[in-house]
Symmetry: C2
Subunit: 281 residues, 2 copies
């Protein structure tokens, strides 16, 4: 059963994350590709992905991606760094529509920020699973950037609790960034988890407190631009001047009320209704 | 395919938790019921349970319990407060063998600690899902105790990171306990999550720092005693003087290496090998 594309003239875009962090990517997409219908799926029953193994993450992500394709998605956005790092190839193989991840656009945004690629040093903050995959190191290396990857496993639980502006979150940031800056003096800091944009300001303030002038880069905007380019490539024309407003629906595999409450902070607008979906397991 | 009971004369006891916190219960069981074979199952692919909905927790817990029964368990120990609070009835209905949870034994241990039940005040520290179920309030109420339940959602992520003796964990404890003590002056504090015994000392120290003399109660020992009683009821005689040492095997649905490394701290002895199990989903 396909879902109705409420935006008949534009594409249906499936956006997937383990939770609601990927809503920061949807937030960047809505103004850039407005003439589209978005289906956002948060696999909240099985989060967090960041502490799990590659095999488990790939199984979860592929089943979620296939669901979105079955619902009529013309393009899939994997708005989750962990799923992109560990399962982008599995998802692309399992689906017939184009798939855009967040890591290559993030690395590209880092390149554009530092201006010159000549061994510029990028500090990547991410979950344990994303760091262990070294997907960012490889993506940066391909662009002539040198990445240092730092796992920040407690940030997602803290943000899922809503402790965005909290002394404990600042203490945890201070610990993680002090450890990272003892290894590298970065030219830029790339947020390698879609939860982290919510504390981009706190991360920048802590970098300054610790004596670093590195700029903070959020891959959400760069990912939205990559989606716009891919839509053009596959023949969907769009224009930001299109008068049709984007439409979207949100689906979660658990805790739909928490999703609606906390998710609106990530999306930057109220989330009217969240549907509950059972993907099994 | 049933697993071999390596302890032919004794029962096979299945112990289940969402992760490795329940190993604190297995640790209490091994000396108390030594003439048994234990199968410990940690559903690490789907943890944490504490932030998920009742329906999802019940589905996960029942599939895990059924697996243990299929492997030949004569008795099941639900060594997870969240699963006990939200799914003990579902598990008991789905299985043919006796099922022992951790909440009733924990409330009983609280009663024995305070000595007199006359409206003694018990502070229960637990996950968000356990608190929302009010299972402890009901179990305490049945014994004439008055329970105040306090959700401590960040403790499990902190302990899963190994931050057992860490200033951030103490800061988080100070915040949670200050909030709780502003509502109640407890006679005893009951650890309503099998992860928390690992920081029982830090919890007691923080209570003293905040001016409380409440004793800290761990339900692991009380649960082990309930298991011993239940085994006698159903006809398995056992004796702690039995010369046959207990045997055990550990199974996890993900991240078996992390389970072996961090789990040994909870069990209090090395974990030789952890088998990987796919429960689907």
């Amino acid at each position: 059963m396909k879902r109705l594309n409420e935006n008949q003239n534009g594409p249906t875009i499936g956006v997937f994350d383990s939770g609601f962090g990927g809503l920061t990517v949807l937030r960047a997409l809505l103004p850039l590709v407005p003439a589209a219908h978005y289906i956002y799926l948060g696999d909240t029953a099985r989060l967090p992905y960041g502490s799990k193994s590659r095999e488990t993450i790939a199984r979860y992500a592929v089943s979620s991606a296939r669901y979105l394709e079955d619902q009529g998605a013309d393009l899939l956005v994997i708005a989750c760094n962990t799923a992109t790092a560990l399962a982008l190839d599995d998802i692309s193989s399992a689906c017939d529509v184009p798939v855009v991840g967040v890591i290559a656009p993030g690395a590209q945004a880092a390149l554009e920020t530092v201006g010159t690629p000549k061994a510029a040093k990028i500090l990547v903050l991410a979950t344990a699973a994303t760091v262990q995959s070294h997907a960012y190191r490889e993506a940066c290396d391909a662009l002539g950037l040198v990445a240092t990857e730092k796992a920040c496993p407690l940030l997602v639980p803290l943000l899922e609790e809503g402790w965005t502006d909290h002394p404990v979150t600042r203490d945890v940031l201070r610990i993680y960034l002090t450890e990272a800056l003892s290894e590298v003096s970065p030219d830029a800091v790339l947020l390698g988890c879609t939860h982290y944009p919510l504390i981009a300001g706190a991360i920048e303030a802590m970098l300054r407190e610790l004596g670093s002038n590195a700029r903070v880069i959020d891959s959400a905007e760069a990912t939205a631009q990559a989606v716009a380019r891919k839509l053009n490539e596959v023949g969907f024309t769009h224009s930001t001047s299109d008068q049709t407003p984007a439409t979207f629906q949100c689906i979660a595999t658990d805790s739909v009320e928490k999703f609606a409450n906390l998710g609106s902070g990530f999306l930057g607008r109220p989330i009217p209704a969240v549907e509950l979906l059972d993907l099994g397991g």
